[in-house]
């Protein structure tokens, strides 16, 4: 019996971790569909940024209540993983509380896991209340209907169940140890310290040893299988941020927020135009084959974005801080930076599946621009950077908005008419208004 459960455990573990690895490989493959962008510079600053923002949660606490609760859940999640390690070893080798040789240290560890589990439980319940009872506005926006709303709640239910199972497992184990049950009790005395689950014991103290074993085993199995299931749920969920927050903050833009990259393809053309020695009738230089295709200006679909923007889309956990700070969104416009990120991810998944099915991308008559993100959303942006400042993990929705505006203007000439007039003025007389450049100094002589 013991051997059977060990073998079963190993099979589930291998399957769970294997499936997860496969999905991560797919994730990386999809992210690599993006254009290249160099983010290898300044490794020290990048590490510091990751340590501060992802590991240190520095931007989470800008909103103190959510920030504090999030730190509880985050710290709990990381620390309790030590316990998961013990559970995995016990599962493989059929041992019971393998780390208990640590003695007093073990008691402290188990006690702190229990306290953290309770704090996580409380944190998650408050999160649920904020979402479903208080109904904070940012969790009820248009883009949060259906799957995104359910996804968020599933995650919370999951965490509640996992923490409850963990505490129940400990309670049953503690009671079994006190009853001196085989395989559970040790001659050295009680293994572990149970400051929280001791309060569950009165609920189960009438049960027989065999029933208690069933309770303990059931809780143990459901807990570990639940964790493996949760691990595999990540890829399909907004919850991927628990992993991707780290690379995302590492690769985030380090330049001043106001700086927008200069399109290199345009620089080359402009330089050619400004070069008095350039021969406008010269045949294009014979280059290496495929590069002849003229570069597309801006982005109309996910493949036109760079890989950091695609990584951003998978990292977004849909908290909505960006949208709640967005001036356009606050004044009732359609633009929501969170929706920009969600749309990008949805479309990327669609494109990725298309490529997997057809070996290469087969035109599906759809694209990110128009089918997911509308012109109206894009033109509502004031480029104020409130969204990028608000994001607790360094996501940059603004860069996607700008790349799509570039496509609209440079490939489709589809700017709103007033903007076309302003740009025409800049081109003709060097100012967005129709004033003559020769009048630029008139103010000095006016009273």
């Amino acid at each position: 019996m013991q051997l059977v459960s060990q073998i079963l455990f190993v099979i589930i573990l291998v399957f769970g971790v294997g499936f997860f690895t496969k999905n991560i490989q797919k994730l990386i493959k999809y992210i690599k569909l993006g254009k290249s962008v160099d983010r290898k510079d300044q490794p020290n600053e990048r590490f510091a940024n990751m340590a501060r923002v992802a590991l240190g949660q520095s931007k989470m606490v800008k909103r103190p209540i959510a920030g504090f609760l999030h730190i509880l859940v985050y710290v709990g999640f990381i620390i309790i993983n030590i316990e998961v390690l013990e559970i995995v070893i016990d599962g493989i080798f059929g041992t019971h509380r393998i780390f208990s040789f640590l003695g007093g240290t073990y008691d402290v560890l188990i006690a702190s896991f229990e306290v953290l589990a309770l704090l996580v439980l409380v944190g998650v319940i408050v999160f649920w209340i904020r979402r479903n009872v208080i109904k904070l506005k940012r969790f009820w926006s248009k883009e949060m209907k259906g799957w995104p709303k359910n996804d968020a709640n599933y995650i919370l239910y999951f965490e509640m169940i996992l923490m409850t199972l963990f505490l129940l497992m400990n309670a049953a184990d503690y009671q079994l140890q006190m009853l001196g049950a085989d395989h559970y009790a040790s001659e050295a005395g009680i293994m572990g310290s149970f400051p929280i689950s001791q309060f569950i014991v009165p609920l189960i103290d009438g049960l027989s040893v065999s029933t208690l074993i069933i309770v303990e085993r059931a809780a143990w199995w459901l807990h570990i299988v639940g964790i493996l299931f949760f691990l595999n749920y990540l890829y399909y969920s907004k919850h991927l941020h628990i992993l991707l927050a780290f690379p995302n903050t590492y690769f985030a833009k380090l330049k001043p927020k106001g700086e927008i990259d200069n399109l290199e393809a345009v620089t080359n053309e402009v330089k050619l135009m400004m070069d008095p020695n350039a021969d406008p009738f010269a045949a294009p230089e014979a280059s290496e084959g495929e590069d002849d295709v003229p570069a597309k200006f801006g982005a109309s679909d996910v493949q036109d974005l760079n890989w950091v923007q695609l990584l951003n889309s998978y990292t977004c956990t849909e908290c909505g801080r960006c949208t709640s700070e967005c001036p356009a969104n606050q004044t009732g416009k359609k633009l929501s930076p969170r929706k920009i990120m969600m749309d990008t991810r949805d479309r990327l998944e669609e494109v990725g599946k298309n490529i997997e099915k057809n070996k290469e991308f087969k035109d599906d008559g759809k694209q990110l621009l128009g089918d997911y993100i509308t012109n109206e959303e894009l033109w509502a942006c004031t480029t104020c950077n409130a969204c990028t400042e608000a994001c607790p993990i360094g996501i940059d929705p603004l860069s996607i908005i700008l790349d799509m505006r570039r496509y609209l203007v440079m490939e489709q000439s589809a700017a709103p008419n007033e903007l076309n007039i302003a740009m025409g003025n800049i081109e003709n007389n060097g100012a967005p208004w129709p004033y003559n450049q020769m009048d630029r100094l008139n103010w000095a002589n006016e009273n």
């Binding site: 800008k62 927008i260 620089t267 402009v270 416009k333 359609k334 104020c384 409130a386 700017a415």
Partner: protein
């Protein structure tokens, strides 16, 4: 004011074989917009008073390309940028000051890659440095004790992390500085950036400048201080929209300093 202010151009300096200490980049709003021209003149008066040898490009100046770039017209932006850089480099400009955060951001951050490397300062930073060097004295004057709130321009604040220079200047004026609930890195945009100044807003339930003006009015200010000609226009319109014209003034920090001194 009877006499016109003396505003030398780079061409004049060049003709004399001299170089000014700093180039004042006036910007389109500062050159053409009636409200913004007042900011330009106030700043020029302060420069003169502090004895700063400055020059403007005058008719050789052209749009930095900021509204074009942020509207998606990278091509037009780079054409503007490269043309401007040619002029600036031709005059061997090293230091630029501007009263427009959009010009400031563009020249400071986006020109270097295209060959334009200058030390660029926002006028509030420059005025602060004049104070620190003792070249300019600021006293409370008529603003002493007045309730003032400062609206952070996105392209000075969030975009370039400068929140304190304008506030330091206001403190020198001994005003009662009150902050809006959304300020500094959390500041709300006035609604003008990203090309919005030149187009009608998308459909919504309110204009951004009205929302921002409401936040400013909550602080019960006598003056809303600004550091950007576009914010100034937006907030002025917002104050009008809220029928508070008689009670609340919208002023650039430079105007306030010049005004306090009765320049």
């Amino acid at each position: 004011m009877a006499e016109a202010i003396k505003v030398p151009t780079m061409a004049e300096y060049m003709a004399e074989g001299k170089k000014p200490e700093v180039l004042f980049w006036v910007g389109c709003a500062g050159s053409f917009d009636d409200r913004a021209k007042k900011i330009t003149k106030a700043f020029v008066k302060l420069l003169s008073k502090a004895g700063v040898e400055f020059a403007v490009l005058g008719t050789e100046e052209s749009c930095t390309g900021d509204p074009a770039k942020r509207s998606g017209n990278e091509f037009l932006f780079q054409m503007q940028a490269v043309t401007n850089i040619e002029v600036l480099n031709g005059y061997e400009i090293e230091k630029i000051v501007t009263a427009c955060p959009h010009c400031f951001n563009t020249i400071k951050n986006e020109y270097p890659e295209l060959g334009g490397n200058y030390q660029v300062m926002h006028h509030t930073q420059f005025l602060k440095s004049l104070l620190e060097e003792g070249r300019l004295k600021v006293e409370g004057g008529k603003f002493k004790g007045k309730r003032i709130t400062f609206h952070d321009p996105c392209y000075l604040g969030r975009a370039n992390n400068e929140y304190e220079a304008p506030r330091d200047l206001l403190r020198k004026l001994e005003v009662e500085l009150v902050e809006m609930r959304k300020c500094k890195s959390n500041g709300l945009c006035c609604g003008a950036g990203g090309g919005q100044m030149f187009k009608e807003p998308e459909k919504g339930n309110k204009d951004v400048n009205i929302l921002r003006t409401e936040q400013a009015i909550e602080t019960k200010p006598e003056v809303i201080a600004a550091g950007c000609p576009f914010c100034n226009t937006m907030m002025t319109d917002g104050v009008k929209g809220k029928d508070k014209e008689g009670q609340i003034e919208v002023m650039d920090v430079a105007e306030m300093i010049a005004d306090a001194d009765d320049l």
